[in-house]
Amino acid sequence: MKTHVTTTINGATVEFLCQPRQSLLAVLRDELSLTGCKEGCNNGNCGACTVMLDGLPVDSCLVLAVEAEGAEIETVEGIAEQGHLHPLQQCFLEGAALQCGICTPGFLVTAKALLEKNPQPSEQEIRFGLAGNLCRCTGYDKIVRAVQAASQASPES
């Protein structure tokens, strides 16, 4: 038995069929080929699968795909616009804020949500805001600095 779901992903209307047990992460990756969000733990602890769901960052492994009915979803694939990197992406690559890169999409989605809510966060606010995303390579220093740099580069500043 499959369920029909209509949703909006990165601004476009998308329809898919899914099993009721499939997570949003599984559908994004396996059915819709949006493999930018990553599976690190499949139980909501690493944040590598973070996507925006109706304006809030969520672990897509903890959302059932059927819950996406009528929702607005944004994934890492939607952050760059028409071939132009978002300032956050630019700051991540210029600031060497990634090593293996598996956690990077989740951090970008979370950081973008943070900056949209709080354009000029303090270091502690950034650290608190990103605490749901695990990175094992960088020690977070350059990630925090990249988010600081992006907040200074943003038009709100």
Binding site: E39, A48, V76, I102, F128, L134, G139, D141
Partner: protein
């Protein structure tokens, strides 16, 4: 600025590319979600595999019945150890440790006995991953549970349950008559340790314990295998070394290496844990049996329970010093848990225990002990973090007892050029003294720490760094760029650090090099991305390829300019001869029109250690109400030899430090009496988050490595080594309590402080 680069007195400051910070070549892919990791692959007609794992820490496997699972619609194949060829004892070096293929095969799929909770016993392939998991539950395994042994000291006892009935200790002493869980006893000796201790004014001996910890890479183990009808096997996988996967597959499946292609996808972290094969042979056998590509991806609990953690340890370290602060002797007794099969990381642990100091007299006894836990694997400077915790805590206590500043005490005794390590080698030029001096000069050291419950700690660390084999080819393109083809999987920016060495040598920009990590059919043999070797050794190969290109370019220039190659000179990427002059790029364009293609080749196998040292300075605050330790300020200083891309050197230093902080303060496997890991998730296995850490300040010292044209040493591993003792020493200054056990988690610290105040 958090980052200081200490003045470089070793190498001329004339580099144009080396030491700059270009954007890495693969970063646009990685910030847009386009980079392809193994789990992102959907090979046509692909099916999915799942494992059946032992629910017991130790059990005889009486029978395995796959018939119910095989009857399920959509189930295509099952697999047990009976599907793997009979293994034989053969030991091979995989670059960061050796493997015995009989043990490896038995770890991939249990034979006769399950040796730890989570040990793979069988597997199944089905048309979707949910079905595969359901089918795995229908495979009936009958077990006869056996008593388990879970801690090193227990496993070493004569009456401990035996894991392997025929395991006789490998030792320099007389061969034992009876089997035991002690796989090997290694011994090192230098000078006369009794004389050394007799000459000491102060002798301190302490016992230390550390818990099992995991590498904690965010990407689980994952592979896709396709066993074709022509007998060729192709595997896409997340690995630190495609060629060593090929080597392991060939041995385990008894087929020639030429029949196997390993495609390394982008890898989501490894830290030593993605060298051994786990799911790859199983996916291959399932693919052979069902004729379709099979993907197996582990769940996170499988990663914790069944892939290489790094060992728990029990250590005794004794050091003596004169009252004027000279070390006279050291003695170490080290027992590391190897996990379920012999061959843990005791070897490097025993070699590293006194590696930071010039000790005239020392002995080391190391024991490799099997017990009912997953087979341990390398984890960033394997073994060195354990022993540094022991040695650096005793060193700190000695310095305190002698009323000598902890950095001065270390400087008094620091290993330097000519120092012989207890295991034999004599150091060439190394940079420990420079690192200690750089810490003394740092703003952090010069800024006093004030406030209650606060303390400052120092510690040193060492890692060998290896050389090993690397191959590259470099193709000059018609537009003057160079495509660099390499076999080193890129975990943390090595595409760029290798490309920069090629660019520097040729006199072009980093952006003019297009690095490509390719499969095992497309480049020469290359050892693992491990041992902090990649920027050093594959960089050396790239340097050699650049010189090869330069030689061919000179010949082509001579042909174009109608002169002898001897008359062509090259400086800073400009070729001159017969009164004419062209840049590398312009000459490449001309050469493309008239000459044969230019392809450079670099193959190396440097047989040296590049010897990395790091020093930590850390300030902590301990909450007396909860025992929680907060890192207030953290500085890591390290000798990089030459930092090719300083941002990624800092990144290694910061990331290694964060892992060391996690090991020091929170990370551990909690085992129940039944031998089951109680915290096999990222929620309960507590790795540091962003909110747990401060900025990590870095000081890069550059004492050129004499064995590399640009002075490169490896940088990846050593930064994990000093944090646990540096933090222990800081907590002591904050609380007055010395800690001898890792992790120093809030309950441990709280209990110790409470014991001190109540006089227990």
């Amino acid at each position: 600025m958090s980052t200081e680069v200490a003045p470089d007195t070793q190498t001329p400051a004339t580099y144009k590319v080396i030491g700059t910070r270009p954007v890495r070549h693969d970063s646009a892919d990685k910030v847009t979600g386009k980079a392809v990791y193994t789990d992102d692959l959907h090979v046509p007609n692909m099916v999915f595999g799942a494992f059946v794992r032992s629910p017991h820490a130790h059990a005889r496997i009486v029978s395995i019945d796959t018939s119910d699972a095989e009857k399920m619609p959509g189930v295509l194949a099952t697999c047990t150890s009976a599907d793997l060829p009979d293994p034989w004892d053969k030991v091979d070096n995989l670059g960061e440790g050796c493997v015995n293929y009989a043990h490896l095969s038995g770890n991939v799929l249990a034979r006769n006995k399950a040796l730890y909770k989570g040990h793979a016993v069988a597997a199944v392939a089905a048309t979707d991953s949910y079905l595969a998991q359901e089918a795995a539950r229908r495979i009936r395994v009958e077990y006869e549970p056996l008593p388990a042994t879970m801690c090193v000291q227990d496993a070493m006892r004569n009456d401990a349950p035996l894991l392997h009935d025929e395991l006789i200790t490998h030792t320099l002493d007389d061969k034992p008559a009876r089997p035991s869980n002690i796989a090997s006893h290694i011994q090192f000796e230098k000078g006369n340790v009794d004389e050394g201790f007799a000459a000491a004014d102060v002798v301190i001996e302490r016992e230390f314990k550390t818990a099992t910890v995991h590498q904690g890479y965010i990407e689980p183990h994952v592979s896709v295998a396709l066993w074709n009808e022509d007998g060729r096997l192709k595997i896409w996988t997340a690995t630190q070394g495609s060629f060593v996967v090929r080597q392991q597959m060939a041995e385990l499946l008894k087929m020639p290496v030429s029949q196997i292609t390993i495609v390394p996808c982008e890898i989501g972290g490894g830290f030593g844990g993605k060298i051994s094969v786990y799911e790859q042979p199983v996916a291959a056998v399932l693919s052979r049996k069902c004729g379709r590509p099979v993907k197996i991806m582990m769940q996170r609990d499988e990663v914790f329970e069944a892939t290489g953690p790094t060992p728990a340890s029990f250590m005794r370290v004794k050091l003596g010093a004169t009252k004027d602060g000279k070390l006279t002797a050291g003695k170490a007794w080290l027992a590391f848990d190897a996990g379920a099969f012999p061959g843990g990381v005791i070897g490097p642990g025993a070699m590293c225990v006194f590696s930071c100091y010039d000790l005239p007299h020392a002995t080391v006894d190391g024991f490799d002990v099997v017990l009912n836990k997953p087979k341990t694997q390398a984890y960033r400077a394997p073994g060195s973090t354990h022993v540094a915790f022991a040695t650096e805590c005793v060193i700190d206590e000695l310095a305190e007892r002698l009323k000598i500043d902890p950095i001065e005490f270390r400087l008094n005794n620091a290993a330097k050029e000519g120092t012989r390590r207890v295991d034999g080698p004599v150091y060439p030029r190394v940079g420990l003294v420079e690192c200690l001096q750089a810490i003394q000069e740092s703003d952090h050291w010069k800024t006093p720490l004030t406030g209650p419950n606060r303390g400052r700690g120092v510690a040193c660390g060492f890692w060998f760094n290896c050389g090993l084999k690397s191959s590259v080819t470099a193709n000059v393109n018609a537009d003057g760029t160079v495509t660099l083809v390499e076999g080193s999987t890129d975990i943390g920016g090595t595409r760029t650090s290798i490309a920069m060495q090629l660019a520097e040598t040729l006199g072009i920009t980093a952006e003019d090099v297009i690095p490509q990590v390719v499969d095992t059919d497309s480049v020469g043999f290359t050892d693992v991305t491990g041992g902090s070797r990649t920027t050093f050794a594959t960089g050396l190969a790239a340097h050699e390829a650049a010189l090869d290109i330069q030689k061919q370019m000179v010949e082509q220039a001579a042909q174009i300019w109608e002169c002898s190659p001897d008359e062509v000179t090259v400086a800073d990427g400009v070729y001159q001869g017969n009164g004419k002059s062209l840049s590398f790029k312009a000459l490449a364009v001309e050469a493309d029109k008239v000459g044969i293609p230019i392809v450079g080749r670099g193959v190396v196998d440097p047989q040296c250690s590049t010897n990395a040292f790091a020093v930590n300075l850390v300030d902590v605050e301990v909450d007396p109400e909860t025992g929680k330790v907060t890192i207030l300020r953290f500085t890591v200083c390290q000798d990089a030899g030459k930092a090719i891309h300083p941002s990624y050197v800092e990144g290694q230093m910061q990331g290694g430090s964060a892992q060391g902080i996690g090991w020091a303060l929170n990370e551990e496997y909690f085992y129940g009496d039944d031998g089951h890991m109680r915290n096999a998730s990222f929620l309960d296995y507590r790795m540091p988050t962003c909110y747990d850490l401060p900025m990590i300040d870095t000081i890069i010292v550059e004492v050129a490595n004499p064995d590399h044209p640009y002075g490169v040493r490896g940088v990846g591993e050593v930064p994990i080594v000093p944090p646990p003792p540096a933090i222990a020493n800081a907590i002591y200054r904050a609380t007055g309590v010395r800690f001898f056990e890792l992790p120093m988690s809030p309950p441990t610290v709280w209990n110790a402080i409470k014991g001190q105040t109540t006089g227990e």
